[in-house]
Amino acid sequence: MKKISFWTIFLCFVFVPIGLLILQSFTAPGSLTEPSMNGWTGLFERRRLVEATLTSLVIGAFVVLFNIVIGMSAGKALALYRFQGKDILDTLLLMPILLPLLAITFGVHIAMIRIGLADTAAGVILIHLVPTVPYSIKIFRNGYVSLGGKILEQAEMLGASAGRTFLDIELPLLRAPIQSVVFLTFVISLSQYVITAIIGGGTVVTLAMVYFPFLESANTTLVAAFSLWFALLPLSFYLFAEGLIRLLPYQRRRRRRTHDLFY
């Protein structure tokens, strides 16, 4: 009974809307019955879109990388150490997702013009850190809390250096939070329109920059295909990142996951 109602709710509010998008992307504009491949072929005929996809991938990859570095180190410090000023830091680290992104971006824009980061991909990568890093720190902090400091001390006692401990113990055991961060960060980076427009100044063209003006077009088939493209990209990036993670030590077997999903 519970199962039926759960899947009914899911069907109505998630699957049907997404299913409609999929259906529309394969049918003629405005009709849901007349098959047409124009949406997908039309999409990839546009050079601008292919370029924007690459730009988004590169920017997203750097944003993810920075997030893992900042998130893991800060999450570890917050989870395993006691120090003065922790409460204030906690609040400060939540601030970037609480205060208006537009206010921060307006302010940062001035400085970026001065130091030459405005209108560059590097500037866009930096501004994309603002809405992502606080989440990553939170996720890694919870990851390190459930890992516990003792197991890292145990590795140290067996003679492992800090680097070896990181590779052999932290990376494999923090796999679930790493997966969450890779996925979430990439999706958030891909979703930024307004801050990319301000800092990128129209020179850095990400997918969102192409999508927005696209919506004015009445060709619903094309827009539907484009919308789905937004979901396919993080999925393929995620699979790519998974492949990379597997190259690291002690990753060959799937362990039983902890039940924390979002950490």
Binding site: L98, L99, L101, A103, I104, I137, F183, L184, L261
Partner: protein
């Protein structure tokens, strides 16, 4: 928890501290630009801002929309998590909850547009064919946010429900408590910190985000973010100080609410950790 070596945690925190410079500088610069007028300190911009009726009405409008979207998605998400915690923990349940997370907000907004605008797939079925997107009441915006934020609430609350001590339920029940008391005494104290924090994040986001209202909002009234963006990019740059002031004031509104909420959370947290 280690307490020796006071340098080590700060070393680990240095990348995060470096990162913090970015938003702190941004806010500082925005604030500075809002209180200077041709190089001199002045509150002229704020006087002008608060005389601007367009701004005042869009401020109220934003508060209303953000509040409605936040409260509705919070309670919907909480209800679904309570009901289906065990199902959501399974692999297929997890995927179901994650699925809407893949799509950017503006894609979800487009879906709402497709389904609810005049002649849309759903609104066309309703007698009178009302336009529920790009409508002055902001229903389209609220619908979009509910669709995107409810899964977020579920993903935030789920760990709480999966790691929660079930004994407290039994305890309240054996003491003769009804469902109301079970929720109030055995669930809420554990849920509250995450619930309030999640609510705060959603409120702050929906209050100041640009993308969704720009797509499914009406031309009038506008949400503060859209209005500010227009000011910022209005031809002669003359309205830029106003844009800065509007954003600084929005930050103040959110900070005040956040301050009250965190005061509540910290009080609760302390009780929970000390009481066990």
């Amino acid at each position: 928890m280690k307490s020796s070596g006071p340098l080590k945690p700060w070393l680990l925190l240095s990348p995060a501290l470096l990162f913090l410079l970015l938003p702190l500088y941004g806010l500082g610069a925005a604030f500075w630009n809002s209180i200077t007028d041709q190089g001199a300190l002045s509150l002229k911009v704020y006087e002008e801002l608060f005389r601007d009726e367009e701004f005042l009405s869009s401020l109220l409008y934003s508060v209303w929309i953000a509040l409605a979207a936040t409260v509705l998605s919070l309670f919907l998400g909480w209800f679904l998590t309570r009901m289906f915690a065990s199902l959501l923990a399974s692999t297929s349940g997890k995927l179901a909850a994650w699925l809407p997370m893949i799509f950017p907000h503006f894609v979800w907004a487009y879906l709402v547009l497709l389904l609810f605008r005049e002649g849309g797939l759903i609104s066309g079925l309703i007698p009178g064919d009302p336009s529920l997107a790009q409508d002055p009441e902001g229903i389209g915006i609220i619908l979009t946010y509910i669709g995107k934020e409810t899964p977020f609430v579920i993903l935030m609350l789920l760990p709480v429900y999966l790691t929660r001590e079930r004994h407290y339920d039994d305890l309240v029940e054996t003491l003769g408590g009804s469902l109301f008391f079970r929720i109030r005494d055995a669930e809420w104290p554990w849920v509250a910190p995450v619930f309030i924090e999640t609510g705060l994040i959603i409120f702050a986001f929906t209050f100041s985000a640009y993308e969704v209202p720009a797509l499914v909002g009406a031309t009038f009234p506008e949400m503060v973010s859209v209005l500010t963006y227009d000011w910022f990019y209005s031809g002669d740059w003359g309205e830029r100080p106003l844009a800065f002031a509007a954003m600084v004031f929005s930050s103040v509104v959110i900070s005040l609410i956040a301050w009250v909420a965190f005061f509540l959370i910290n009080k609760k947290r302390r009780l929970l950790t000390e009481g066990l």
